[in-house]
């Protein structure tokens, strides 16, 4: 009986896979196909390079590709595969946010300041991907220096949302979200300072996880706000994300903020039941101008989790209201400092008509940096200077501690916290009357997580009546990525939202 059931399940899976196009494969399916030699890494890489050629002009997701280097890496992976190397990600293509330094492609960070800049070294994230046999397809568009929520702040043009080209794919990892949603890569990396992985994931119907602060090395990742920045995978599913986290989560002696934690296989306990897990529902998160339709869809997802055995517990995170001002002081203060190095002296853009050292600084920064970046440098410089430091910087640091304590208390009672990822679905491109305040406020659900250094994942849970995807956020306790991945995976086993590819990008 068991055997027959097993065979039936297997056949089912086979049919499912056979109907799937190769570019729709999950990472574990790709791994299986590569290991069993159903496809070679070179063929797979070519498939994606072709798709990039075909669709990238529509989306503007990729800023740089280097097909020669990609195919060479793929050929190398095939060699390893033929030798019987069983590394699970060997030969699978990936696309990298253009914030990670690479030696074989430029690293612009979405800025004119770094136009044509080639790094002399590879970021640790790039090295880890290489070591695990992942094939780099190219570098992805982003808001300049990761500052923005729409990807419109890129010096290389906005990225479009594959579900509706009039809409933005979110930001700052907009190139990453659009590219994975349209399957121009099976997976991508992103970075998240205040929501830059989760918000674009929600806007494009994919899965994105920001690991706990200190999980993934920041070495070679162009810094925006050092105490908040964290890299993470952007994938179709939670399972895929877990596979990538296995590669990315490592202590790095070059990054003093990474933690020395015992290696854990994030996929190991993924399939375990979520029965009895307590999921906190913070009332405050559902009170702030949340789109009613989004709320409805989230409530449906909550019911579904309940039916899978999770226990929903109402909780309070009282200091949520301070998160936005705190974030918009700390992040700009660190940004103003981190971006001081872009002075036109050693690398990057230098204005052609400079007569003095002052000119080099002033003109290079004036013309090399975009408006949003300059705005944040000004805010950060102001808030950390002289007497203001006490009023703004010192106070913001204290509030950050208070927010951390809030979460600490909450996690004494619950295993995870569920919230919307965003207040609404994706924003329309080129909307003239958006105030910066409204844009900043739309980060309200995501920024608290960065301030507290916690892990959080956004998964797709349905579509709004406007046809755009809706996301849901699960926040975990520090270094408990495994719990939120398990809940997300359990949900994705019951649903199909994460498997959908927007129609115009199907063959």
């Amino acid at each position: 009986m068991m055997l027959i059931q097993g065979i039936l399940m297997f056949l089912n899976l086979l049919v499912k896979i056979m109907n799937k196009k190769i570019y729709e494969y999950s990472l574990s399916e790709l791994s299986e196909a590569l290991q069993t030699k159903k496809i070679s890494s070179v063929e797979l890489t070519k498939t994606f390079l072709d798709r990039i050629k075909r669709y990238n002009s529509t989306l503007n997701a990729y800023l740089h590709t280097n097909p020669e280097a990609s195919l060479e890496a793929a050929a190398q992976a095939d060699k390893q595969l033929s030798k019987g190397d069983k590394s699970p990600l060997l030969g699978i293509p990936i696309a990298q946010k253009d914030i990670f330094c690479t030696t074989d492609m430029p690293t612009t960070c979405g800025s004119k300041m770094l136009e044509g800049f080639y790094s002399t070294y590879n970021a640790e994230v790039i090295n880890l991907c290489k070591k695990s046999g992942l094939v780099n397809l190219g570098k992805l568009n982003m808001d300049e220096f990761a500052m923005g929520s729409t990807n419109e702040n890129s010096a290389y043009g906005a990225v479009k949302n594959p579900w509706n080209l009039d809409y933005c794919p979110g930001g700052s990892s907009g190139g990453s979200s659009a590219c994975v949603a349209a399957r121009l890569a099976p997976c991508a990396t992103g970075t998240d300072t205040g929501g830059s992985i989760r918000q674009p994931a929600a806007f494009t119907g994919i899965t994105g996880i920001k690991p706990s602060y200190g999980r993934v090395s920041r070495y070679g990742m162009v810094a925006f706000a050092s105490s908040l920045d964290q890299a993470g995978p952007m994938t179709a599913s939670a399972y895929d994300a877990a596979m990538l986290l296995n590669v990315l989560c490592q202590h790095d002696p070059m990054d003093a903020t990474t933690q020395k934690l015992a290696f854990c296989d994030f996929t190991e306990r993924l399939t375990e039941s979520i029965e009895g897990l307590k999921i906190g529902i913070p009332e405050e998160f559902f009170a702030y101008g949340l789109d009613p339709k989004c709320q409805e869809i989230i409530q449906k997802a909550m019911k579904q989790l309940e039916s899978l055995g999770a226990i929903l517990v109402p909780i309070h995170l009282e200091n949520l209201k301070y998160a936005i001002p705190t974030y918009y002081l700390l992040a700009p203060i660190e940004c103003a400092s981190n971006l001081a190095r872009f002075d036109g002296i050693r690398y990057g853009y230098r204005h052609a008509k400079t007569k003095s050292i002052r000119d080099i600084y002033e003109l290079s920064r004036e013309y090399g940096l975009g408006d949003e970046v300059k705005k944040r440098i000004l805010i950060g410089t102001f808030a950390s200077s002289g007497a203001y430091s006490k009023d703004y910087y010192q106070k913001a640091r204290k509030v950050k501690q208070i927010i951390r304590t809030d979460y600490k208390k909450a996690f004494l009672e619950v295993d995870a916290i569920l919230t919307p990822t965003t207040t609404s679905t994706a924003l329309k491109l080129n909307e003239k009357n958006r105030s910066p305040r409204d844009i900043y406020l739309s980060d309200i659900y995501t920024v608290t997580v960065n301030l507290a250094g916690l892990p959080a994942i956004s998964i797709p849970i349905g579509f709004h009546e406007n046809g755009l995807p809706v996301g849901m956020q699960l926040i975990g306790n520090r270094f408990k990525e495994e719990t939120i991945l398990r809940i997300a995976h359990r949900y994705q086993m019951e649903t199909n939202w994460h498997n959908l590819c927007p129609e115009p990008f199907k063959d």
Partner: protein, 475 residues
């Protein structure tokens, strides 16, 4: 005038690698040969704290009687300058590595104490090189990221002599510990002196003026002398003194205003987010202090007890390797003779050849051989001074030099007598004059005898014999 001064001393630590990167911390390489992505502030790079730097600071902390921070943090200090690659310097502010402490030193045989406010770690900046090509300035980042320990004293120094004596003492401590090469010319040990003058002790503190750019003790002395006379004249004329930074111009021997609106600088200090707080436990401190040598303060007392003068004990105790020579030699030889030799001919030679006692070409045994020969009078002290030069410059042992150059003392009484007889016979005129009371001519006969014996005559014996012979002939 009442003189008040406090000093900020930048001590370049002698770590193998830089403060926050693994680039070699070396001098004299080609521009930017010792600068990595991290030192150049490339995008994405991060600092990592050099543990050796912490250990060296802790070692010094022990000897300064300072509190070693249980938890220490770093901050960023922001300003734009081409040789500051990141646009900020990593330094320490609210929780520096060392807090408090003091340094004891002597001035005119009096014990003095200068209190330390704190000492913090920071990275050095690079160098702007102007006009290395016609009309072009360049940036050399070899020095960028070199570890510095900035020691800040309380305003405890009340005369120029105190400033110099204190600095010399501190200099000898850091070089003794070998946490700094002490090279003031190259800026490894830089002192910025804050001075203020007031009419008397009861007057309110005067306006502070900071003096920089003095790269030797001599220039510190001269800069302070100039500054004191400048300020005294101003105070006496009731002119206000401006709070400012002044640079010492050694060519003109005067201090000059830097004309820098320093008060307008806003460094926007904030916690360095790339470096978590460092907790320093007992184990780490013990580990750092494993290499701590015997304290020069203890040695000094010991040497005085052994019979050295205060001054000699001070010099020898605070020179780590001279102290090692002294201690080893003192097991066989008289301490006064040892100190005369170490501070005399050996120091003279090491100054001439610009070597320190750490790398003398003479071993303890070499010096011991000389002292033994002196003691048993087989050589004269004049010979010894010649021998040591040959040993040093030709790298030969005492025995070899003596054998090759024929150094030996003529102390055969009969042989010497015969020589003297001959001399007296050959100089009847001088002999007559001597007898008529021109006793100065005694030296003439000694000279003749030395010439005849090629300097090998035992001087004491020569003197005695000569006196005897001269008086004998009188009779």
């Amino acid at each position: 005038m009442q003189f008040d001064a406090g000093i900020e001393i930048h001590v370049q630590l002698s770590t193998k690698t830089k403060a926050f990167s693994s680039s070699p911390a070396r001098f004299g390489e080609k521009p930017n040969a010792c600068a990595s992505e991290i030192d150049m502030g490339f995008p994405g790079t991060l600092p990592v704290v050099n543990k050796e730097m912490l250990k060296q600071a802790i070692m010094l902390g022990k000897w300064l009687h300072a509190d070693i921070a249980e938890m220490t943090t770093f901050v960023r200090k922001h300003y734009f300058y081409p040789d500051l690659p990141k646009g900020y310097q990593i330094t320490q502010d609210e929780s520096p590595i060392l807090v408090g402490g003091y340094v004891d030193y002597e001035l005119n045989s009096k014990e003095k104490r200068c209190h330390i406010h704190h000492a913090h770690l920071e990275e050095d900046a690079g160098k702007s090189v102007h006009g290395y090509q016609h009309g072009i300035s360049g940036v050399d980042l070899n020095r960028a990221g070199q570890p510095l320990l900035e020691i800040v004293t309380e305003p405890n120094l009340h005369s120029i002599e105190e400033v110099v004596a204190f600095l010399k003492r501190l200099h000898s401590i850091v070089t003794y510990l070998e946490i700094c090469d002490g090279n003031m010319q190259e800026g490894s040990f830089r002192a910025d002196v804050n001075i203020s003058l007031r009419k008397d002790k009861n007057a309110p503190l005067g306006t502070r003026v900071e003096l920089k750019n003095m790269n030797s003790f001599k220039f510190i002395q001269k800069a302070l002398e100039y500054e004191v006379s400048r300020q005294t004249a101003m105070i006496e004329n009731s002119e206000p003194i401006v709070q400012e930074t002044r640079l010492y111009n050694e060519a003109k021997n005067r201090t000059e205003s830097m004309r820098d609106k320093e008060s307008a600088h806003d460094y926007r200090y904030f916690r360095e987010p790339d470096l978590p707080a460092i907790w320093i436990n007992k184990e780490f401190i013990d580990n750092a202090c494993e290499k701590l040598p015997a304290s020069p303060f203890d040695r000094r007392l010991q040497y005085i007890e052994m019979g050295l003068s205060n001054t000699d004990a001070n010099i020898i105790a605070f020179n780590r390797y001279m102290g090692n020579y002294f201690e080893a030699l003192s097991k066989k030889h008289d301490v006064k003779i040892i100190s005369n030799w170490l501070l005399g001919p050996i120091s003279a030679l090491s100054n001439k050849h610009q070597l320190t006692f750490k790398n003398l070409p003479l071993t303890i045994n070499d010096i011991s051989d000389i002292l033994s020969a002196l003691k048993d009078s087989s050589i004269s002290s004049k010979m010894a001074k010649d021998i040591v030069i040959f040993m040093w410059e030709e790298g030969k042992s005492f025995k070899t030099v003596v054998a090759e150059k024929g150094f030996r003392q003529l102390d055969n009484e009969d042989e010497l007598k015969e020589i003297l007889h001959r001399i007296l016979k050959a100089s009847p005129k001088q002999l007559a004059e001597y007898r008529n009371g021109k006793e100065k001519l005694f030296g003439f006969f000694v000279g003749q005898a030395m010439k005849e014996t090629k300097g090998q005559a035992n001087p004491e014996m020569l003197n005695n014999l000569l006196k005897m012979l001269l008086s004998n002939s009188e009779k």
